[in-house]
């Protein structure tokens, strides 16, 4: 399907496809096995100007938007969703600065990100996942500084990133309205990393704890105002969720590409299995589902880029639909591979393992349904249709 991409977007797609073919696919299986972080691929992405894609030109970026980011994430994920996450996780980590950063903060951090400095976003805690209101990490103001205490868990790019955007409570008595967003740099005294998780999928991605013990940061590192932490976090998710959708579309497309190739070569009963209707119907359904998800993801991304005010529902829909689709499609891809789909020598099972996380992170799909339903009901009761 033709999505009427701009000349520059087609250029981005071709560039990312080349990186995926030449640099990601050859190492994907190995990094999946070793759980090694893909520093060399990150460097290739950085040298190709891709970390600047979503950053304003005045800060050394390319001035692109969410659709550009989605195109890149989708292409990388076609090769390896774990490697793609080093890239997409940086976009998530820098979003709070793009959304709420003042001129000084933008001038200080964005040029570094545009050159390939990795970022990470820290909201989840052991006791605060879907219920982010249960955040225990605190930030206490003392003179010109804030003192952070607490632990974040499951943080993508944890330990590998240099710049972290972190939610901490500045006033616990105010509940969600007492949360604030801070920039914390790696190397700040009192900021260390806990255990690195061993995961089912996206194993080339680093997922790690962030530990703050009397971590002292300058007050200039507060993003927006005190108490705006959750608002900034929600706006961050509005911007980033189409990216998860794009990752899911890429994973699904990668598994379909592999399944199609296999079905054409695998001979049973004297014919390639692609000549059997049972396989053909599966391939046709997979391709159709992927296309529908891609259309929704791109539409949601375009809405954000066009400056539409309320994108919460469509962002949630893009993430929800694409990730559920990816899970179904990758399971079917394993089925087409038959016994070979179940063993690690072939790529199908990895796509299936990688797909699962897209239904869980950046808000489980149950939370996405809550968001969508709440928005539907509120719209109806306010009389605006």
């Amino acid at each position: 399907m033709d999505y009427l991409l701009s000349e520059q977007q087609i250029m981005i797609r071709d560039l990312c496809r080349q990186i995926t073919e030449e640099k990601i696919k050859p190492v994907a299986a190995e990094l999946d096995k070793t759980e090694e972080f893909p520093h060399s691929v990150v460097k290739v992405m950085a040298d190709a100007d891709l970390f600047g894609l979503f950053i304003d030109e005045q800060y050394g970026g390319m001035g692109g938007g969410i659709l550009d980011l989605c195109i890149a994430t989708e292409e990388f994920s076609r090769g390896c969703a774990g490697i793609a996450l080093a890239y997409a996780g940086t976009a998530l980590g820098v979003d709070p600065i793009l959304i709420a950063g003042n001129d000084e903060q933008k001038a200080k951090y964005l040029p570094r990100v545009a050159k390939g400095t990795l970022c990470a976003f820290g909201i989840t805690e052991p006791g605060a996942g879907s219920d982010a209101g249960g955040t225990q990490t605190t930030a206490k103001k003392e003179g010109d500084h804030y003192i952070l205490n607490g632990t974040k868990c499951f943080i993508t790019n944890g330990g590998e990133a240099d710049i972290y955007t972190v939610v901490a409570m500045t006033d616990k008595s105010r509940g969600a309205r007492g949360a604030s967003m801070f920039i914390v740099e790696k190397g700040t005294p009192g900021f260390t990393f806990g255990k690195k998780e061993e995961k089912l999928g996206i194993r080339a991605s680093a997922t790690r704890e962030l530990i703050f013990q009397d971590c002292k940061i300058p007050k200039e590192n507060l993003l927006g105002k005190e108490g705006q932490g959750f608002i900034i976090a929600m706006r961050t998710f509005d911007m980033s969720r189409p990216g998860i959708g794009a990752q899911a579309v890429g994973i699904a497309q990668g598994s379909l590409d592999a399944a199609l190739e296999y079905a054409k070569q695998r001979v049973q009963f004297g014919k390639p299995i692609s000549s059997f209707q049972g396989i053909q119907f599966m391939l046709a359904d997979m391709a159709t589902q992927i296309e529908a998800a891609r259309a929704l993801v791109y539409a949601a991304a375009r809405q954000i880029d066009a400056g539409v005010k309320d994108v919460t529902r469509s962002s949630a829909m893009a993430k929800l639909f694409a990730s559920d689709m990816a899970m179904r499609v990758t399971v079917d891809a394993v089925q087409i591979f038959g016994g070979y789909g179940y063993i690690k020598e072939y790529p199908a099972e990895k796509y299936m393992r990688d797909a699962k996380i897209t239904q869980i992170y950046e808000g489980t799909n149950q939370i996405q349904r809550n968001i969508i339903a709440r928005d539907l009901i509120r719209e109806r009761s306010s009389g605006v249709v």
């Binding site: 560039l15 030449e22 640099k23 290739v44 100007d49 891709l50 390319m62």
Partner: protein, 260 residues
């Protein structure tokens, strides 16, 4: 440093087909690419510029559509592209091509180093690079795998041999042809690709060059391709069974009969 990189547009080697009647390449429907060895030449040129400063001019001789490979070179970091293209050049063999390119390079003043790929993937002659150096009367170093240092108008260079490598010191300007061991070519960046799209490609015809007409194209080409074919597979040899003495006798008899 003022660097010139010579490149050639070739059909994607994975899809080469020969017209059995005319013995020429079938270009229809075949994707054209930069000769794979020339990509290493481009990368080396850009790396030298990044190390020593200066400018990289990329030059190709070919039909108008060869402009595409010049743009791709610019996306990798070359500064300027020159397309040497004229009907008068059609049918050039390696001698005429070397002559024409040498005249074009002569038009670019004060060149310090010319870099070529070791050979083209379609013709496989490895003659054009050395031909250019001969026409320009400058030193040449072929099969280069490393440029060790460049200082005081001299270059210290490692060249591959079948047994190992040689270290050669040459004065500059010089011409080198490079092998794929010399570097790992970069993937053109987004900014590079955008610059390449906008770049103005210079087009030089025969009249733009200080050139002798009878040395161009078919007229200037003492060689031509009479036939291109895939050699038939070697027929199976005859094995002699039995003890060595008997086998040797049988072999000698057979050879005698064969000679007559």
């Amino acid at each position: 440093m003022n660097i010139v990189v010579c490149i050639k547009q070739v059909p994607d080697t994975t899809q080469v087909r020969i017209d059995p009647v005319t013995n020429t390449l079938i270009r229809e429907g075949v994707q054209s690419i930069i000769n794979p060895f020339d990509v290493y030449a481009i990368e080396e040129g850009v790396r030298l510029k990044e190390r020593f400063g200066g400018k990289v001019t990329v030059i190709t001789m070919g039909p108008p559509q060869a402009e595409a490979v010049l743009r791709e070179s610019i996306s990798m970091g070359c500064d300027e592209g020159v397309l040497v293209s004229d009907r008068a050049f059609a049918g050039s063999d390696t001698l005429a091509t070397g002559y024409t390119l040498a005249r074009a390079i002569n038009k670019i003043k004060d060149v310090d180093m010319i870099i070529c790929g070791k050979q083209a993937s379609d013709g496989d002659t490895a003659q054009v690079g050395p031909g250019i150096a001969t026409q320009l009367d400058i030193p040449q170093v072929t099969y280069v795998k490393k440029i060790e240092e460049i200082a005081n108008g001299k270059a210290k260079i490692e060249r591959m041999t079948e047994e190992g490598f040689e270290i050669v010191e040459t004065s500059m300007p010089c011409l080198i042809t490079v092998v794929k061991e010399i570097n790992e070519p970069r993937i053109p960046s987004l900014k590079g690709r955008m610059a390449a799209k906008k770049a103005v490609i210079l087009a030089w015809k025969a009249i733009d060059l200080d050139i002798e007409e009878n040395r161009l194209g078919l007229t200037g080409s003492p060689t031509w391709v009479s036939k291109i074919f895939t050699p038939p597979p070697r027929p199976k040899g005859q094995m002699f069974e039995g003890d060595p003495e008997e086998s040797a006798t049988n072999l000698v008899d057979l050879l005698k009969n064969h000679i007559g």
